[in-house]
């Protein structure tokens, strides 16, 4: 069976630093896969390599069967991406920005408008649709960020620290949206985070990075048993201790 996301020895070296070092794992159709690691562990670089935004120094990766280097545009057509930190264009309204993004997919205006209307409804942004993004709160901006990642109805979502900076209610809502996307639409989600409770809430399987290297990969419960850990916190600390 072909995996939706497949990494084989993926490596990226900056200067002499191996930001990502021989990482291999795979993600299946319709699952919400947790991608854990401390700040600077290499999660963001890995996600960017999966979209062809950053070139691997060595190794390969495929998304939906497309090579991420040679067929990066085909990968991007099927993916939605939400980076960890970014500022939306302050001079655009939410609706303008979503149309702007939709135009990058060459969506017909009427198709784009229907999808954008549905997304604005889904995220409760209808009332704010004509407001400039510069005035949006962190939570609202994150919803727009997720909406732009969904405008092409992606089969794969790559989310980099999507719950960072959100209040508990905003975090709960976002996690619920992701759960619905996976269960109702069969979207595969690669969920990168260092917030362990979010991973535990959403994901059945995880990959754990430490200083660019994969130190664990598999079902959360199996990893807990294997490392005699009762919680995600304990598991993560144990993995970090062993890797150090």
């Amino acid at each position: 069976m072909q995996h939706v996301i497949e990494l084989e020895g993926l490596t990226r070296v900056y200067g002499g630093v191996r930001a990502v070092d021989g990482v291999s794992f795979h993600v299946e159709q319709g699952e919400i896969f947790g991608f854990m690691g401390h700040n600077g562990a290499g999660k963001t670089t890995t996600l960017r390599m999966l979209l062809g935004l950053t070139r691997p120094t060595s190794g390969t990766a495929r998304v939906l069967g497309h090579d991420v280097v040679r067929e990066s545009l085909a990968v991007r057509r099927e993916c939605g991406f939400l980076p960890a930190s970014y500022a939306l264009p302050a001079h655009m309204t939410a609706r303008q920005f979503l149309h702007y993004v939709a135009a990058m997919f060459d969506l017909a205006p009427e198709v784009a408008e229907a999808r954008i209307q549905a997304l604005l409804q889904l995220f409760g942004l209808e009332a704010a649709a004509e407001r400039k993004l510069g005035g949006f709160s962190t939570g609202m901006a994150q919803k727009v960020g997720l909406a732009q990642a969904l405008v092409n109805e992606p089969r794969v979502l790559l989310l980099d620290e999507p719950t960072s900076g959100l209040d508990p209610l905003g975090r709960h809502e976002l996690l619920e949206h992701l759960r619905r996307l996976a269960t109702e639409r069969g979207v595969t989600v690669l969920f990168s985070s260092h917030i362990l409770s979010d991973i535990e809430t959403l994901c059945e399987r995880v990959a754990v990075l430490h200083r660019g290297r994969l130190v664990a990969f598999g079902p959360v419960e199996a990893l807990k048993r294997e490392h005699h850990s009762e919680s995600m916190d304990a598991l993560y600390l144990e993995l970090a201790r062993r890797a150090a």
Binding site: L53, Y100, A103, M104
Partner: protein, 256 residues
């Protein structure tokens, strides 16, 4: 090339504060220059006669309009519109969002540069359309055909400023340094735009300067032919396409 993306980018740029600033600068030029040419001193008119072979008020107006107002204005507008073309998006982090879509960095860069050119063109043409009737009333012997022919050629010098600023924004890593380099180079070129007129010995050498082509209508007013207009537009188009190609080559392997 995505026409819809280009259109949406033009609309978004028109809504930015920087475009309002650019429009304000254009409005200032439109209103100020007619006052400057209202009562020219004798020695200025004499210089006009020596340089351009004509000392009528319209010659003085077109010279001042082109050199004093438009030449300086397009440098600043080019920088305002295209100075942070990719670097600003990179700094805010939104470049990763945009380039995660199925649009190559080259296509993104070219559409954004073209969009900045469109906005420059809109501001430039609108400024001239507003200025023409104002100047026609205040400048004796105003010739609309020559005025708009001059606009048509110099517009491509304005596009040169956009393309150059866009190139610097991807060539020089820091936005402020890129802006400084753009200003230095473009103002140096502007300073030499009439070098071939001030000193006829430099006439041939001056043609390597795009702005010398941009002011061709002013320098050939006494014997203006369609070839002067079309030839200079073609040369400037070549310069602009070369700059865009360099910028595209630079972003070809852009990593985010």
């Amino acid at each position: 090339m995505s026409a819809r993306f280009l259109w949406l980018d033009v609309r978004a740029t028109l809504g930015e504060r920087k475009t309002l600033l650019a429009a304000g600068l254009m409005a200032y030029a439109v209103l100020a220059v007619p006052f400057l040419v209202a009562k020219p001193p004798e020695h200025v008119m004499a210089a006009m006669g020596t340089w351009f072979g004509a000392s009528e008020p319209f010659t003085l107006f077109l010279y001042l309009w082109t050199d004093l107002a438009m030449n300086k204005l397009v440098v600043i507008l080019g920088l305002v519109l295209a100075g942070g073309l990719v670097t600003r998006e990179r700094e805010t982090g939104v470049l990763a969002v945009l380039l995660s879509k199925p649009m190559s960095p080259v296509r993104y860069y070219l559409v954004r540069a073209l969009s900045a050119c469109v906005v420059m063109g809109l501001l430039y043409v609108a400024g001239h359309l507003v200025a023409a009737p104002l100047v026609a009333r205040g400048v004796p012997g105003f010739r609309a055909g020559t005025f708009f022919a001059s606009m048509a050629v110099h517009l491509f010098a304005a596009f040169f400023c956009v393309c150059f600023s866009a190139l610097m924004s991807v060539l020089v890593p820091k936005r402020s340094l890129a802006a400084l380099v753009s200003l230095l180079v473009l103002f140096s070129l502007v300073g030499g735009s009439f070098a071939g007129i001030y000193n006829p010995a430099w006439r041939e050498a001056a043609l390597v300067n795009p702005f010398a082509h941009g002011v061709t209508v002013v320098t050939h007013m006494a014997e203006l032919r369609p070839g002067h207009v079309l030839g200079s537009i073609a040369v400037l188009l070549g310069f602009n396409l070369a700059l865009l190609a360099l910028g595209a080559a630079r972003v070809r392997h852009l990593e985010v």
